[in-house]
Amino acid sequence: MVMSRRSIGRFLFSGMLALAAAGAAVAYANAPSLDARSADALIGSEPPALLAPITQAGRKGWECKPEQAAAAADRHAAMLPGDPSR
């Protein structure tokens, strides 16, 4: 049985259409939803800057500002990241 040229063309066209539809379906299934896209961009705030050098007298005593900053309960004294500009 010999297929006509027209039948071959139809067959190829149908195959390409099916492939395109399958590709579109896969792309749609893999595309993140809108809220997932924005949720991925939600990250915690930045780490605080490193504390400063310490003299050879060591961390104990009132002169050691980095150690005081590490222990402070106040966020300014602790040198945490500042709030964004108002």
Partner: protein
Amino acid sequence: MRFGCIAAALLFAWFGVARAQMYPTPRPVPRSTDAPTLHAQAVQREVTERFGIGLAAENRNEWDRAAPEFERIVALKPPEPQGSTAHYDLGLAYAHLGRNDDAAAQFRAAIALDPGFLAAMANLIGVDLARGNIKEARAVADGFLAIAPDSARALYSRGIVALAGDDARTAQNDFGRLIASNPSYAVAHYDLGLAEMQLGRSDDALREFQTALGLAPRYARARFALATLLLKTGRRADARVAFDEVARDPNGDSALANLAGSMRDAIAIH
């Protein structure tokens, strides 16, 4: 008259003597010919000298000049507190030179010598986060908070480590405690909002993002988070308005502006 002169002379002499007695007697200069003692003194002088040079370089942000000074001090193994302090300062120099693995090793060595060294713990968490070692950062943050439960830096550090490690419950607890002592800290409200969102508590998250924006209206990341939450809870029109505000005023964050703009446009066409 003669009596008065004698009395004045005696008084003057008395004060002269009293003043002379206030001078301390000179202490003998310690001297030794013992070789180990002389060596120890020479090492101590070198340590002191190198600390001075290294700290001066660090204060000028010349970290590459500071590092060799502290490397030499560490090699000399000075007693405490110089030992742990030298490791700390060397770790700081390495961190600023981008050598985070080496920096972490030095901060760890400082803590090993002085287990209560809070500044070293704080900086070790920082370099661990920079090199993506969430596991060690979390362990150090737990220890930091156990020693200093009221420390704002310990609460903040463990909070962001917990968020990065998907432990929203701990982050919620830590940022909640941080806010209790620092209620006007917008950044902590933002982070607490993220933790509440991860826990599925949308109303609490909404309140925290709104509080953060009330304290810092140009806080673009908080507004983006608010927009995301609004979108997630089906309030698309409000979300679009919030994304639009971020796109128009990203507070210097151009990447966030682009993303917010694309989100706004995507909501419009859906």
